[in-house]
């Protein structure tokens, strides 16, 4: 007989012949009985004194973690389930944003004006024409369009230069005038659907924009969006083209 048999008996882990044998020994053998009493006493002492300890704060933390795990799984499941659709949405969003924020080639904006007015941007060999008529003819030929150039010189402006500016998406005809002190620019953009020009009160069909130190007025003429820019007020520029 060893101690583990008595312990197993006390713990209810015996059956059959083994159980009958140990019960008989406890009843008949004083030493076994004494051991049985000691083990029982020890077990009872542990059961009576080792108390359960609660920890409500920890349970709250655990409960919160279950919810976190659930949320993470839910997100994961949704992503897995709808990943095709989500990829489509993301792609559509990117394309949508690209469309919304694209540089619209059909818009004449300040960047076009700034580029066109810069002397360095003239990429086609330019020259000094005899007069406006020659300038208009040359531009018409270069742009291969019916281009009507308004007579602007009116005695006090002289034509300084005519040339072509190659923009990323179009070619712009440019005539440079001078009044002896300042330069003025007449630009012929290919016709655009939209222009970033503000309407001018009292001048229907004419728009206004500001580029650096210059004002620019624009209007639709023939196959072009014409722009006249110079260091004058909008009203003065309008008078100069009429």
């Amino acid at each position: 007989m060893d101690r583990s048999q008595i312990n197993a008996y006390i713990d209810g882990e015996m059956s059959g012949e083994e159980l009958a044998a140990i019960e008989s020994m406890i009843e008949n053998d004083p030493d076994v009985k004494r051991e049985y009493l000691w083990v029982t006493k020890t077990k009872t002492c542990v059961q009576d004194n080792i108390k359960t300890i609660d920890n409500p704060e920890l349970w709250s933390k655990c409960s919160a973690r279950f919810r976190e795990i659930d949320r993470a799984h839910r997100t994961e499941t949704i992503v897995r389930k709808y990943r095709g659709a989500l990829a489509g949405i993301v792609a559509a969003s990117i394309l949508g944003a690209a469309y919304i924020y694209r540089v619209d080639p059909s818009v004449v904006g300040n960047h076009d004006l700034a580029r066109t007015l810069s002397a360095a941007s003239v990429s086609f060999p330019s020259f000094t024409p005899r007069d406006e008529t020659q300038a208009a003819s040359w531009i018409r030929q270069q742009l291969n369009r019916e281009t009507e150039m308004p007579p602007i010189s009116q005695g006090f402006l002289r034509v300084v230069e005519v040339g072509i500016v190659d923009c990323p998406d179009c070619r712009v005809g440019r005539v440079v005038y001078s009044d002896g002190q300042n330069q003025y620019y007449l630009l012929a953009f290919p016709q655009r659907e939209k222009q970033e020009f503000q309407p001018v009160r009292g001048a229907p069909g004419i728009g206004w924009s500001r580029v650096g130190q210059m004002n620019a007025i624009g209007w639709s003429q023939g196959e072009h969006w014409m722009v006249f820019a110079g260091p004058k007020s909008v009203q003065e520029l309008i008078r100069m083209i009429q």
Partner: protein, 187 residues
Amino acid sequence: MLFRKRGKRDEFEREASAVFPSVFSTALRMARNREEAEDLTQEALVRAYEAYERFDGRNFKAWLLRILTNLYINRYRRKERGPEFGSLEADSAAEFIPAEDGDPSAELFDGLMSEQVEEALASLPDEYRIAILLCDVEGMSYEEIAKSTEVPIGTVRSRIARGRAALREKLTDFARQEGYIKGSQNE
């Protein structure tokens, strides 16, 4: 969602909250360190939560304590502290030695404080302490303890016997110090 039906999750929380104090108490007595016990409990519950769909539905508390015990043995003890070998294998607790001084009196350990019993239990090596905790405090069968601790039933039986013998000696020492035992009743 982890559980297809919300009801299943609620069921887990209901069952887990009912046995939570037992799980935490066991963790505390295994680890003997509150912070470590809290980590251990939380980790065991999370593992159980994630594996709940595989629970066979029979004894939730035993299943949860098995996860806890496995976690403690595999993670905390081996990785952080290294194996703690029991020192009871070679001493006299291994064999049944008839007591010389008669039966224990009915009131023998009655005067002991819970703290003294806790201290006696805490002094046991891990293997013995865990076996006694799961058996005497949590009421698990030898088979369930064997599964939890990944040892044969015979080893569980032996650990419980040796552990109780060692515990009895500690408790007897306390009882002697308190004057509940005169002379050498257990010797």
